[in-house]
């Protein structure tokens, strides 16, 4: 589409200029323009939605493969045209296609609300959680493929074993020597510290990050962003204590650990839970350096 408002955001050099009154004013103007552009965009999507309601169907191209079934042993793409309704997600569309056209269409899904982590797939060239992805945000035809870099079991189902193995390789459980005496007494944790680990606890094990990561694709033993994030969740938890922190940093510093990350941000970009994965990995690198200095 060529109706896009040209992108007017300033480049980085002007942002780093000294703050003068006119500059501040310019920024406000800029913001205003941006808001106007956003409003225009909403209008456009609404219009697009209305137009869709008229065309009424959405075109899906879905990856198919089955190791046992003649005609499916060679991977292929099937076309499905599903009637569109407002608010329809990619998962809704897949379920509709399966229940209406082809009951053998196979994909994992369960909660429908972005919490079970079953339905990360490769949609229009990007790792996405299908239940959280609106069809109306996608270009047609919508191409749905299994997560890249994982072995395909059938259709859109991939083998998650390797991902689980990496998750479990970082001692992914709470360890402390500091439990309070009283039977009904909790171990205290400051609000700030809970806040610090909060984002990292949100991971739903969907595997999108790992699938998007070049390093993981090249180094099968690389722990990967999700497992490192899991380790971050405990390393940064003040209740575990200093000794445990050292122990965890040692695990993370191994050959296939944090130092492999080349800060490409692909994981952070695809994480459906908005976990700042790359930042967490960077922070762990800094912690590792700090703790090494301590020993020297």
């Amino acid at each position: 589409m060529s109706t896009q408002v040209p992108d007017q955001t300033d480049d980085e050099s002007s942002a780093s200029e000294a703050e003068t009154a006119p500059a501040a004013q310019q920024r406000r103007m800029e913001k205003k323009r941006q808001r106007a552009a956003e409003a225009e965009e909403t209008r456009q999507t609404e219009e697009a939605e209305a137009a869709l309601a008229e065309t009424e169907t959405y075109h899906l191209k879905v990856f198919r493969y089955d190791p046992e079934i003649e005609g499916k042993k060679e991977p292929r793409f099937d076309d499905f045209h599903v009637p569109y309704h407002k608010g329809m997600t990619v998962l809704d569309a897949l379920m509709y296609a399966r229940d209406t056209y082809d009951s053998s269409l196979t994909f994992r899904h369960s909660c429908r609300q972005a919490i079970c982590g079953s339905d990360a797939m490769f949609v229009n060239g990007r790792q996405r959680l299908c239940c959280k992805t609106q069809l109306s945000d996608l270009e047609e035809p919508v191409r749905i493929e299994p997560l890249p870099h994982q072995e395909v079991v059938k259709d859109l189902v991939v083998d998650m074993e390797h991902f689980y193995d990496q998750m479990e390789a970082v001692e992914p459980y709470f360890q402390t020597n500091d439990l309070p005496e009283g039977e009904l007494e909790e171990q205290r944790q400051s609000r700030e510290n809970r806040e610090k680990v909060k984002m990292s606890t949100r991971c739903i094990w969907c595997g999108a990050c790992m699938s998007s990561c070049n390093i993981a694709a090249g180094d099968n033993q690389y722990l990967g962003p999700a497992a490192i994030n899991k380790a971050y969740r405990f390393t940064m938890d003040e209740r575990e204590g200093e000794d445990m922190k050292q122990h965890r940093l040692e695990i993370l510093e191994q050959e296939h650990g944090v130092w492999r990350c080349q800060t490409q941000f692909s994981c952070t970009n695809v994480c459906p839970k908005d976990i700042p994965l790359t930042e967490h990995i960077q922070e762990l690198k800094r912690e590792a350096v700090k703790s090494n200095l301590k020993f020297w």
Binding site: I69, S110, C111, C116, V153, F174, E183, R194, I204, R239
Partner: protein
């Protein structure tokens, strides 16, 4: 054949807790689950866990609130166990590192919830279930407990004495989803069902696609009674387009409900003049539908839940997840506008009849979590009381199955205690359709009388029958697709067995269910692959949905009173004289038998006298 001391079916909160407890008791335990543990629907729980932790609160108050909330249909021994054990269990979770929300002093936060006399709902933001599930799975990994994940349990291996009370359970039959292999699992000491809720019986539900009530249906067909199935909780605040839940935490923090005319109807129309939005769920759900039916709804469908006045900071601190849900699943920015909400199926108070140790009337067969009915929730569950139920009764079932002495249970199971026969007139015959392919091949251990098999023999026989069933379904390649049959049942249930129930509608539902049973005789599986055949599994799940839909409807038809979540147009009063009793339904070889047993109101040191329930 695989062999373990204790086999736990299901890896949600209840299953994980049961497995940990069994292992702590020294058992060799394994979990068999159709989903990888972290995919279980416990992860969707938002609001919190009730536990009397603080000064000024007590287990007695928690028990009292729960009994009142149950509308006096809960059993005191179960309710008191829940209230007594939940503080310890919640602190246990904290000691396992669970990321609870915190107070300034570093202790775990608690908030008010509907129907509670004290703010005793412990929480982790609006993602308590996610934190709980992952924390417990971490413990599983730490302990190296074996999980057969993506194994679907097809059936139980139960002996075949005439009376269910004389039977015993020796294992289960598992189907490896990835390979299509069927294997027997021998359980030397016990099988624990922790398969979760049956939300997929309805088409508008907060439950996951995998919540198909498998465990309840399996136990039912093996002779274990289902208890109080008519009591289904409809949550008052679900998003209209998907059924995604907006936690009660929103109202707990001060969220307000408005009708289409901008009136705060909970107060203005006197639905709950004291507690308003924080009245019990059944009360709020009925109020919303009454408003919509009176023409004061929005788009004739829903009402508004507004939390904007709480302010961005507080919302982000305590309810951040709600902002994401409203945005992603309804396209609403809840910081800027009110959220549309309407009642949706949420929770089953009824389930597999157990005692307070989680044991059923069949020796060696246990149930815990939402699939079980001890009964803690009676006719209406209070928000925040299911998660403690998972961990309290999961732990009890696990350790009891592994041989720990928990003392004699006070709640009798099966027809061991006092009971009376029941009867209900139905427009069509419920139960199995003859001749039923299912009947000879599924869980009906009953059919052939004493067989003299040893425990391994029962497991082998169950595996053979399950194999025959799977082969039969696959052989009927051009048979009917289950999806249509399932959709018909779900729609009929939402239309006829919902918040408001009347005789004609309930009878219609039974006719529709009968039609579904007829249609199911010709069901088949088009996908001929042995690899990850979800077509096959969903076909099997649909059969379970039909059995549960029928049980819910039969219970709703027989219970001629209005109690808790069960409202009947023709019977507008709670009737303690005639109905202070549990509804039970036994499969009885395919001709379901209704019966009743008294409610136990006698607590440890007091009797809970039924009072008018007002909020």
């Amino acid at each position: 054949m695989y062999e373990h001391d204790v086999i736990v079916v299901g890896a949600g909160g209840a299953g994980l807790r049961a497995a940990i407890a069994a292992q702590e008791e020294g058992a060799d335990v394994a979990i068999v689950s159709k989903l990888h543990p972290v995919r279980s629907h416990t992860g969707a729980a938002e609001g919190g866990i009730n536990a009397a932790l603080r000064e000024g609160d007590s287990w007695q108050d928690h028990a009292y609130d729960t009994m009142k909330g149950s509308d006096y249909l809960g059993d005191a021994p179960a309710i008191e166990t829940l209230a007594q054990d939940s503080p310890e269990e919640v602190i246990q979770l904290e000691h396992w590192g669970m990321a609870f929300s915190r107070e300034e002093d570093g202790r775990v936060s608690q908030r008010p919830f509907g129907g509670l006399s004290f703010p005793r709902t412990t929480y982790a933001g609006a993602e308590t279930g996610h934190q709980l599930l992952h924390t417990m799975y971490e413990q599983l990994v730490k302990r190296g407990i074996e999980v057969y994940d993506e194994w679907y349990v097809l059936d139980l291996a139960v002996s075949d004495e005439d009376a269910p009370e004389d039977r015993s359970c020796h294992g289960v039959v598992g189907y490896d989803i990835q390979s299509g292999n069927i294997e027997g699992f021998r359980a030397r000491d016990g099988v624990i069902l922790a398969t979760g809720g049956p939300g997929q019986v309805y088409d508008h539900t907060t439950n996951a696609v995998s919540n198909t009530g498998d465990g309840v249906a399996m136990a039912y067909r093996a002779g274990v009674p289902m208890e109080d199935m008519e009591f289904i909780q409809f949550h008052p605040t679900t998003l209209p387009s998907t059924g995604v839940l907006i936690s009660e935490g929103v109202r707990g923090e001060g969220g307000i409900l408005y009708n289409g005319e901008g009136e705060r109807f909970m107060f203005e129309y006197g639905y709950a003049s004291n507690d308003g939005e924080l009245a019990s769920r059944d009360v709020v759900a009925r109020a919303e539908l009454s408003e919509v039916n009176a023409g004061r709804g929005i788009e004739d469908e829903y009402v508004h839940l507004d939390m904007r006045h709480l302010g961005e900071e507080r919302i982000i601190d305590r309810l951040e997840n709600i902002l994401h849900l409203a945005e992603d699943f309804e396209g609403v920015d809840a910081l800027e506008e009110p959220m549309p909400v309407k009642p949706g199926q949420h929770y089953a108070m009824g389930g597999i009849e157990t005692d307070e140790n989680g044991e059923t009337c069949v020796a060696g067969l246990y149930a815990a979590g939402e699939c079980a009915c001890a009964s803690v929730h009676g006719s209406n569950r209070l928000g925040g009381n299911a998660l403690p139920e998972l961990i309290v009764f999961g732990a009890r079932a696990g350790s009891h199955a592994a041989g720990r002495d928990l003392g004699e249970a006070e709640i009798p199971t099966g027809k061991r205690g006092e009971w009376e026969a029941g009867d209900v007139e139905t427009p069509v015959e419920p139960g199995a359709v003859e001749p039923e392919v299912e009947a000879d091949t599924s869980g009906d251990a009953v059919a052939d009388g004493g067989s003299g098999l040893d425990p391994d023999g029962f497991v082998e026989r169950a595996a053979e029958r399950a194999t025959e069933r799977v082969e039969a379904l696959l052989a009927n390649e051009d048979g009917r697709n289950h999806a249509e049959i399932r959709a018909d049942v779900q729609q009929s249930m939402t239309e006829n067995v919902n918040v408001f129930r009347e005789k004609a509608g309930l009878e219609q539902a039974l006719r529709d269910i009968r039609a579904a049973r007829e249609a199911y005789r010709d069901v088949g599986v088009a996908d001929q692959s042995r690899t990850f055949n979800t077509d096959l599994l969903q076909t099997i799940e649909t059969r379970n949905i039909i059995d549960l839909a029928e049980a819910i409807t039969l219970g709703a038809l027989v219970r001629k009173e209005f109690r808790g979540a069960h409202w009947r147009k023709e019977h507008q009063e709670r009737d303690d004289e005639n109905w202070l009793k549990h509804t039970l339904l036994s499969w009885n070889d395919g001709s379901p038998e209704l019966w009743f047993k008294p409610v136990l109101l006698e607590g440890e040191d007091k009797r809970y006298e039924p009072k008018i329930r007002s909020y």
